[in-house]
Symmetry: C2
Subunit: 237 residues, 2 copies
Amino acid sequence: MKPSVVTIEPNWQLCSDCAVRGSAVCSSLDAVELREFEHLGRRVHFASGETVFSEEDITTLFYNLLEGVMRLYKLLPDGRRQIVGFALPGDFLGMNILGRHNFSADAIGAVTACQFAKVPFGRFIEDRPHLLRRINELAIRELSQARDHMVLLGRRSADEKVAAFLLGWRERLASLKGASDTVPLPMSRQDIADYLGLTIETVSRTFTKLERHGVIEIIHGGISLLDPAKVEALAAA
Amino acid sequence: MKPSVVTIEPNWQLCSDCAVRGSAVCSSLDAVELREFEHLGRRVHFASGETVFSEEDITTLFYNLLEGVMRLYKLLPDGRRQIVGFALPGDFLGMNILGRHNFSADAIGAVTACQFAKVPFGRFIEDRPHLLRRINELAIRELSQARDHMVLLGRRSADEKVAAFLLGWRERLASLKGASDTVPLPMSRQDIADYLGLTIETVSRTFTKLERHGVIEIIHGGISLLDPAKVEALAAA
DNA sequence: CTCCAAAATTGATCTGGGTCAACCGGCTTT
DNA sequence: AAAGCCGGTTGACCCAGATCAATTTTGGAG
């Protein structure tokens, strides 16, 4: 899905009662700074499937994801796709070198984000090293996840990949909505395949196999972990 | 290789004529700061194969690589290994969250590094946001490389992986020692395989195939690119 | 130099996951 | 409610790369 209408509301919302106040970049700001910060960002919405930014685009905007899920991916010239991550509320997007995004980002379902213009945001950081430290912290956390994902892509079997994905995704949702054995999967099978370096058929077959063995149950819009311990054993961490 | 003797010299060397002065973290420091910085670090040496730090070790030291090459890797419980990167002079190692390394690092051949104790280094950064910005820059650059590598691991064929590796490695060496079609490969075939998510046999066969086709020549301790354009075509960027 | 061990290459064979193709609901459109 | 579509599932078959098994080459050590 290409360009489309981006709804922009007047900035009624207050940072102070923002859903991601405690976990996002802004967690490093005190009450006074937050008031000033409020004027820098504005809330924007993206429809399901809409592209928020593309690889190689010049970065003029940063995003702080508030609601919804995004897929972050890179394409090869011949169309092969690797999803490098899924973004969830609290994730900060747009940091890069050379002023260009190095991956593309699409909304999966409706998305709300807090949008910042690069220049004023950069100025705001300038004399607030604690915010810079927070951004650095987020970058290092992502780097650690990226390395874990390299191990998964390079050295794990299809079964291990799928099991590790289910556990990892459940874990991330747990820290947002609380722990649960019912795991919603808003992304398509193709998305999961492109995230795990597999084909859609292999992902589908692996799900059915896990279900046949009574380890998971495939439900509408997600899966339910019937035997989490078994899944953990499969993921072989 | 497990613990071994770490040679420590008195800190004769001056940062000001350090080989990586211009490219490493310290490139963000002015002459005055550099004098102070000099007292924080000390030069350490590692023998070939020696482990500098291990995954899960508590981080007490940071390293700024001065000479030599290191392999950075993660192990699965059953011994499968994924090399997440090779470190070259100018690379900064040790940044992490939760105070633990999230990968292991071995010397490939003799290595010299500038070693910093975590606490005083952290204090030094404290009131020098430009150094923090430099560290952030390096983290973001690594993140970008990590994402490129995910694409390679998840979506590229063995031939493409090997070709992309040769070009990428040549590129990195070029920015250190100047461009050349003769590419030294200090790491073993097993290291290359574990970096590319392949087996040693596949790497070896791919090299021989490229040589048979007159694209490269396998020389002692490396390869020579006879037809760089062909290699680039294979890497299919 | 000779001997030994580790690294690399090469060959033969096997298999996990890809490819190709058919099919099955559930939604939307008319 | 028929038609069409899209996402997902299932089956049959295939192949890139893994595995298993010898060599061959390289690099020290004595």
